[in-house]
Symmetry: C2
Subunit: 362 residues, 2 copies
């Protein structure tokens, strides 16, 4: 326990580096390119841990994040977000400094970019493989062909291939369900390739969700992966089936400020502005299980001890009768976050177990 | 429309100041003290708008917030959060500089504070009037009496009275339901006074929720109020029955980055790290209705146009067939936040409609 006087996001460096190494090993095994997404950690220091395993290209989800990592020595960055034409000046500035890849699925946007950019940018066409968020459905062959042609005829845009974030894998509840989605994505990409009739090797396909990249045992028709959340994982990914509890690299440590014997509940300093309002799915929605550190990783105390509710700064921990006796006012309690991307965004920095603090874009 | 290239939190100064004035008028009408909660806006500039209506005492929900407002000229601050003994040094430093009031409901905490503090602090005993979050139930008369005695016998603690945040009013769905809760709170406070048998005027009672303070038409057995959210209100408060849409002072303006004709949906730059993951209650949970500005306030476009889903940076706007035609890529769309406290915490600053930006504690 670090025992800060305020809510603190603990980061276990060993687990985090192990998650990075395992994904790098997988990338090598399947002969893929690795373009890890930085959106979860948003830290130059953690970015350096990727450099240690040979990573040279990264993915981000905003222009601001691209600027931050460009300033921190990254020269090959994909912005995995529909190109925002309101930011064309900032995008143009980035293209003058680094190899920048944009996401596109719209002819109007392609036209604006080609007209406004003064330097070259690479372009992935974004595909919607089932997430229903953004991108063209793979069945929209004529639209996709038209967009490739438009890009190929443009002055500053260079077509690199396709990008898809199969976000529907976040709805899975088991490894089997993830694998089914991953199979469907690969089948869609195969169909697309067949219908396009383009030469293998003339473009690449990149996919980027943590569940499929963590669990997948084949990567047919996929050339590159860009998962992000796996660097920390979280309780949601555990429930989806992407990881084990022992793979979760971050946990929130919060001071216990009050104790209610009647209802076996603790009040902690730690609320929605620290954890985020993301709750887990299932019959008993909550904001994360209480854990203890054991053998270098976190272990759930019992199924009845969890962060039951949160308001802005308050959290209420429901305890089992046994665990309630263990916790005293003035001590801390540790909770696994439901969604580490949102918790890390709120907490802004990471407390390593050896006392060092590392920072992120804020 | 301000039309920034990134998600922007717009603040309508006129509506905000009108909300402050209306609450100040109510405070005067019912002969109450006004100790507005700063947790929603957390801005020294907006704090100054309270000074303009004569406010001298404020409420905050963390030591950090108390430090920030003390540095910005406030000398009478209540920290409406169970006193965190891990922060006793910071609390002691504050007591040396300003009139500080703490919340207590635990004899052990009172003992630690009395032992550790080197300057005087005022103390409200926190009451749980139905929120089941923190505080003593008003029926725990002997515990309450014991705590008052302990405080009265202490060296540095001075008993000021009672504080309650009737947070269960956030579960209301109409003005009638709010008024029922408000009645119950007043009845509990009356019973408490009867059982304690203390002189009227020797202590004060402060309550602090926006629904009851906004809607309440009597304030029996209440001496002071400390609502916070009313400064902005939000869509949740509208649904609870605390305000009208025209009273909502903040709205999120987000760039439209893509458009899907088939599903009548827009993709916006604006997600969970901008809005928070708080969704509205009811049959159709969403993250806020789309609005247009009309006659100096925001007006909901139609019941079918709203922020349907959010991921980290993406938002999906479901449109009616009519509204879909109005929105183009490269324009912005404006959304009322569900919970302005959490949205403002994420956005960190406010864009006034005249172009000025105002900042908050970050």
């Amino acid at each position: 326990m670090y025992e800060s006087c305020e809510p603190t996001l603990l980061l276990n460096e060993r687990i985090c580096k192990s998650n990075i190494q395992k994904m790098a090993d997988k990338v090598q095994k399947f002969d893929l390119s690795f373009k890890p997404h930085m959106k979860t950690h948003q830290s130059a220091d953690i970015g350096n841990w990727y450099k240690e395993v040979g990573v040279e290209a990264i993915t981000v989800s905003s222009v601001k994040m691209a600027q931050y990592f460009a300033e921190n020595g990254w020269n090959d960055i994909t912005i995995a977000f529909p190109a925002n034409i309101k930011q064309v000046k900032q995008i143009d500035d980035l293209t003058s400094r680094i190899k920048l890849t944009l996401l596109l699925s719209n002819a109007f946007v392609a036209g604006v970019l080609d007209k406004e950019l003064t330097h070259d940018a690479n372009v992935y066409i974004e595909l919607d493989t089932g997430g229903n968020r953004s991108g063209l459905k793979v069945t929209k062959i004529s639209k996709i062909k038209g967009l490739i042609e438009q890009i190929n005829n443009s002055k500053h845009l260079h077509w690199s291939g396709f990008y898809s974030h199969p976000g529907h894998s976040y709805q899975a509840h088991s490894k089997q369900e993830i694998l089914k989605i991953h199979r469907s994505v690969q089948d869609q990409l195969k169909d697309l390739k067949t219908h396009l009739g383009l030469n293998q090797g003339s473009f690449e396909i990149c996919i980027g969700d943590t569940p499929c990249c963590s669990v997948g045992t084949s990567f047919e028709n996929i050339d590159a992966i860009s998962p992000g959340n796996f660097v920390f994982y979280d309780y949601m990914q555990y429930q989806i089936g992407s990881c084990d509890i022992k793979d979760i690299a971050v946990a929130m440590e919060c001071p216990i400020v009050d104790r209610y014997e009647d209802r076996k509940e603790l009040v902690i300093y730690g609320g929605a502005i620290h954890f985020s309002k993301e709750s887990n799915s299932g019959e008993n929605p909550h904001y994360g299980p209480a854990v203890i550190e054991k053998n270098g990783s976190w272990q759930v105390i019992d199924s009845d001890t969890y962060l039951k509710s949160i308001s802005q700064e308050h959290g209420i921990i429901r305890c089992s009768p046994e665990s309630f006796e263990e916790f005293k006012i003035g001590q801390s309690i540790t909770i696994l976050p439901i969604h580490s991307c949102l918790t890390a965004n709120l907490m802004k920095n990471y407390q390593l177990t050896d006392g060092r603090k590392i920072f992120r874009l804020s």
